[in-house]
């Protein structure tokens, strides 16, 4: 086995979404990479999803020595290690009246933690997602709460409020939007935002980042929305437009790996969730896709 592959056991011992389930149907054997390990996936003759590692040539669908597989939220998840828990829960996904849509799987030339940190950031909305998720002069990130819980092991940022001209495909105008962010996995985040249709419930947008290497990822985006007007294409394209705006910002961050030393980059008050996230990664002992702080 090549020595360049991931040797961060903490990172290895997590589940990773590697492809939307819909992409597997009838497509034969497909290939991707997880933490520098080439892997292949397909349905076998019993119609089960099979994922396996290989070194260059995937061969036929094997009947043993396969990786563990979970099918969750419309994606195939696997692991190269031994995760302590199952894939984290997103209970809203099972609600009958929600539209669960795979928005996109995009490649981005950046580390996984940079993608998550950008996902958590509200400060860039007016400047990067101009006239959609923000607009000048509504640039203030108001005080919000950040909690790190142990059981479940996740970060929750709540009471986030931001004025948005076009918060979702179903929006009809500007609105103050409430956000809650969960980070239940070092490279995944789940966002809850006010539904334009039902003020008592929230739309869910989740990002599941599959690290190809320390500085290249595949980002899988799930939408679980209350929307009875737009078709799937409109909903997807809205989200793709948002992500397409983030992409050049992400790819122009240097260093591409996330520095965990608190002195490496200068945070402002709006970065409260990012500070908690970096500390959380440090405490977990994550070394993949980051620049660990000096001991």
């Amino acid at each position: 086995m090549s020595t360049s592959k991931c040797d961060d056991q903490v990172t290895l011992d997590h589940w990773y979404a590697i492809a939307p389930i819909a992409e597997i149907e009838g497509a034969g054997i497909q290939q991707t990479t997880l933490l520098e390990q080439p892997i292949a996936y397909a349905r076998n003759s019993a119609r089960d999803v099979v994922v396996w590692t290989h070194e260059g040539v995937p061969g036929d669908v094997p009947d043993r020595n396969c990786l563990p597989v979970r099918e969750r939220y419309g994606y195939v998840w696997t692991t190269l290690g031994a995760p302590e828990h199952d894939v984290f829960p997103i209970p809203e996904y099972a609600e009958a009246d929600r539209r669960n849509i795979h928005a996109a799987t995009f490649g981005v030339n950046v580390s996984a933690p940079r993608v998550i940190e950008n996902f958590l950031d509200m400060g860039h909305f007016p400047f990067v997602h101009t006239d959609i998720l923000g607009a000048e002069p509504h640039t203030e990130v108001k005080e919000y709460f950040v909690e790190v819980s142990e059981d479940p092991d996740e970060i929750v940022a709540s009471n986030c409020k931001f004025w948005q001209p076009m918060a979702a495909a179903a929006s009809t105008g500007g609105a103050d939007v409430d956000y809650i962010y969960r980070v239940p996995h070092p490279y995944c985040s789940v966002l809850y935002k006010s539904s334009p249709l039902d003020e008592s419930r929230k739309d869910v947008i989740a990002i599941f980042v599959q690290p190809l290497s320390q500085e290249q990822v595949r980002a899988h985006m799930l939408l679980s929305l209350l929307d009875d007007t737009n078709n799937d294409t409109d909903i997807r394209l809205f989200q793709q437009t948002i992500f397409g705006q983030d992409k050049p910002i992400l790819e122009n961050q240097y260093p591409k790996r996330l520095p965990l030393d608190p002195r490496a980059e200068t945070p402002i008050r709006a970065d409260k969730s990012a500070i908690a996230y970096r500390r959380w990664l440090s405490e977990k002992g994550i070394t993949y896709g980051v620049i660990p702080s000096a001991a």
């Binding site: 992409e23 981005v108 437009t241 705006q245 992409k247 050049p248």
Partner: protein
């Protein structure tokens, strides 16, 4: 009304949106689920374009495909100033056609590298695509440098941009998404900034507007005046 079969993240569709915006032509968009739906490869869409490619326009029954062809058609038909595609100037038309072909080569290299990196087009030899894009960028950078030396702002001579500028701009400005840096092409970077300041310029996802510097400079009161 003119209809554009469109996909937001497509640079070729962006070329058409740019010209329509510069000319202030109203149009309706039919959004195609290019990814992940591959709607452009569906039997229904192949009735509209047998090649299964975007963009396509339907102008009151005239259905046309190919970004460069659409620029030629739309400018010829709707640009009353005649400046974007000067039909009565053979010298300029020859040069515009030459750079339209060049723009297609940029699509075949810089856009291909972007598809490889962002949408996992595994069959593309990305190293080769990037190297070929750099060769094209070097050629254009030199051309623009000498144009600037001669007091020219645009790819083809004259005091107004042409559809050659529109055809070249999208996949140059998106090149970094395919791992093709523009740091070594200062004349291209200056041209991109000028392009973004053409009245009617619109962005697409992944392209940001020019800073307000040029406007501000005009507004700043000169001391003593």
């Amino acid at each position: 009304m003119l209809k554009l079969y469109d996909y937001e993240l497509s640079g070729n569709c962006y070329k058409v949106r740019l010209l329509l915006s510069f000319l202030a032509i109203p149009y309706e968009q039919e959004m195609i689920d290019f990814y992940p739906g591959k709607q452009h490869k569906s039997p229904e869409f192949r009735q509209i374009n047998p090649l299964g490619q975007l963009p396509v326009i339907d102008d009151n029954g005239l259905v046309l495909r190919d970004a460069q062809a659409l620029l030629v058609y739309l400018a010829s038909k709707y640009d009353e100033s005649g400046k974007w595609y000067p039909r009565d100037n053979p010298d300029l038309l020859g040069q515009i056609s030459q750079w339209l072909a060049f723009a297609d080569a940029i699509t075949g290299t810089a856009s291909a590298a972007r598809l490889h990196d962002a949408l996992f087009y595994a069959h593309i030899d990305v190293v080769k695509a990037r190297a070929a894009a750099h060769e094209l960028f070097r050629t254009l950078d030199e051309h623009l440098f000498f144009a600037e030396e001669g007091g020219q702002d645009w790819i083809c001579p004259g005091d107004h941009p042409t559809i050659a500028d529109i055809a070249c701009f999208p996949y140059i400005i998106l090149s970094e998404e395919g791992g093709i840096a523009r740091i070594d092409y200062p004349a291209i970077r200056r041209w991109c900034d000028r392009f973004k300041r053409i009245p009617g310029f619109v962005v697409m996802s992944g392209v940001f507007p020019a800073g307000p510097a040029a406007d501000d400079r005009a507004k700043v009161a000169v001391p003593g005046q």
